[in-house]
Amino acid sequence: MELRAYIVRRLLLIIPVLFGVTLLIFGLLQLFSPVERAALYVTDPKQFANIAEVIEKYGLDQPVWVQYGHWITEIFQGNLGWSKVVSQPVTSAMLNFLPATLELAIFATPLIIFGGIFLGSKAAAHKDKAIDHATRLGAIVGWSLPTFWLGLMLLMVFYGLFSGLFPPERLSTEMNIVVHSEAFTQYTKLHIIDAILNGNGRVLLDSLRHLVLPVITLTVVNLAFIMRLMRSSMLEALGKGYILTARAKGLDENTVVSKHARRNALIPVLTVSGYIFAGLVNGVVITETIFNYKGLGWWAWQSAVNLDISGVLGFALFNGVLFVFTNLVVDLLYARIDPRVRLGGKVT
């Protein structure tokens, strides 16, 4: 009962947050004058002749609250607007671009989390030894790398130098035709899963090959975050009394590290999973842009650069919902791992 009440309360909190998100974005939009907002519809000056008509048609010169009212009503009717950059409604754009990003996340997330945990605890267990310095330096350099620079460098080497080894985009032209042919059923639009379900090995390999570089780019940059956190919380755990006891009992170091210390050290890592999510979204924007891997991140970038406000808002709303849910799940997990934490005690 307590759990259910807690979840309900957390879900209710989404409403004011999303309301705030809409206010924030709408506020940003008001930084443009009516003429400028009308100009957002225009790609060529020759279309500008009818600008007065556009202002009137979309009520761009009405008071702010009237405009907000119109707009929020539309949203409640499920109409998030028209995404100019991809010529489709925002809702369908989100559905169309989600699978690509999911596919990236499915591969990158475990690599980041497990790789980070593994390297972090290794470094902590050998503090101030060569392996500690090497992993730390590696991770810090990775963390300091501009994502866009790394991505371009990888592309240069693995697509340019070794011509065509790991190409950009999601699929080769040939496989793209296979995927969209009638013989191939797109159950999930996640090419990898679809390929397995269809038993098509070539599509599977092709999409894996296209995933390599974006996944590496995303991983290198985000891995360091977990690794460093894991290292410091592991160091803290290793200093605790029960570890000393375990050592004193003569348990071998491996058991001490993996059985006792690591479990406790994992808790802070888990609590920041929300940040990993944010890091992934940031990374996805740049990674997808560079590798021409058309997913949500690419779409968000296009929307922002082209001042496609409906697109930016849709993406932000989507993110907001996802973020709040991720945090909820994390908190629930947190409570499970660490019995000392009581639900409802702290709302973050």
């Binding site: 003429v35 400028e36 000056p45 008509e53 080894l165 390999l205 058309k294």
Partner: protein, 592 residues
Amino acid sequence: MKPKGIRKVCWLLVTTLIIAAMMLPACAEGEEVTEEVAEPPIKNPTIFIQATIGDAETMDPAYAYDSASNEQIQTIYDPLIFYDGASTTEFVPILATEWTISEDGKIYRFKIREGVKFHNGNDLTPSDVEYSFERGMVQDYGMGPQWMIFDPLLGIGTSSRTDDGLIPLEDITNAVEVDGQWVQFNLAAPYAPFLQILAGSWGSIVDKEWCIANGDWDGTQASYKALNDPSPGGSPLQSIANGTGPFMLERWDAGVEISLVRNDNYWGELANFERFITKVVDEWTTRKLMLEAGDADWVYVPRAYYGELEDVEGLTVYKDLPQLTADAFFFQFDISPESPFVGSGQLDGNGIPLDFFTDIDVRKGFAYAFDWETFINDALTGEGQQVASPVIEGLSYYNPDQAMYYYDLAKAEEHLRAAWGGEVWEKGFSITIAYNAGNERRKTACEILQAGLFAINPEFKVGIQVQQWPTMLRGMYMQLLPVFIIGWGADYPDPHNFVYPYMHSSGDFSEWQSYSNPEVDALIEQGIAVVDPAERQAIYYQLQELYIEDVPSFIVAQLVGRRYFRDWVQGFIFNSIDPAEIGHVYTLSKEY
């Protein structure tokens, strides 16, 4: 969470990726061994793949007004007539087998081809043709191309919307009539470039029955009202297509790619490719590598990077293709008092008065201070040419011998000394000019003008302001910008399409500038209404001369472009008005 498990998952992922990586190059090599010719085997021989920037906005021919959409639409749909090869004035019959123009130039009649089928199997009839144009005018998307149909049929400057509401439906339906196998257009006044307009993608013929079935205009007043001026994406034909053209729309992953398949029931000779795929690839490096790898047959090459492809093997390049577009510096004759770009607003050395550019010596001084040679050789790497007026090369009645301004600081000084009774020279001025964000070429032009003026007199201070696109448009519209640089691209290849926006008092740019010269207006109105080529030539030559005399703006350069194809692509025909950089895909083939 057991650590062993974690490690296992990690290794599993890593190994999968490595194995995948290792197996694929092996496959690729296997394919290559089969052919042992000097030339590399043609990749995807039955598909034409292009990688470009910017996706189509719509598949609706009446609504589309961007070249990416126009390109797809003209491949899926057929017009009545189309340009003959590279010509912009000669036409070949497409869905019309023959046509006549009345002596007074006001009645155009087209005989419609028989035995043509739409992609869905419906027959093409003359009433489809009538419907296509009427439907376009009924829809009349405010920011769409329909003004080009309204101008000749209902009079220059008309639209379906007036201050008193929509114009009567009869006005629209009376403009186009069916007469047996013929379709007749009744023009409001003679309109010389009407055939050119019909050859554009807005002249595409749609299937009436199919349109109505999909919720488009059904001939009634109610549906006219409901469908007029749709919101973006609001046309029933937004993302579906059913034409008579050589290719059919197979799939449109908006923002990603468009796939067209060959129409095997095409009335003419079948296209050479089974598929025509357009990929949207924003990153130049990616596009370049796709071209080098042969994964794309043509990619969009920004002109700054022509040099990078100079020594690449396996490419065919077409050079020196004049583009029907011209950037110009525009002077604001009546600057708004709200403008933040005029300094003190007075001729005291720290600003300019609001009517600064009404003095012709100021305008001439500015024009002589622009270093065309540096701009064209450096900023355009030689891929451009100086032209005198908006009647640029490639348009009929272009006068190659028209005198023009040139970089001459002495002459610039002479004019600026004379300007405003010598006050300009004495006190100097301070002004800010603007260009739109992301356009490096225009920024450079601003810097060159800045440097030129500074070299004449250090008291001539020019600031440069980058503005986002909507802000810049607002600045032009509200007359905030004393000088701005922007360009016009052709809708149809006739000088009228250029002199009007650049020179007519209600032209797109000149109206913003508050430029008005009754003599020019009269000539422009006369030029479009006469039919005789000799008469038109005299008028447009005179307009070119007047443009130089009056300097309401001055052209920075006409761009010349290049096209880079894989060398296995044959059959490219350059037509300067074609919305597609590859020309018409129908004429292309892949072979050595």
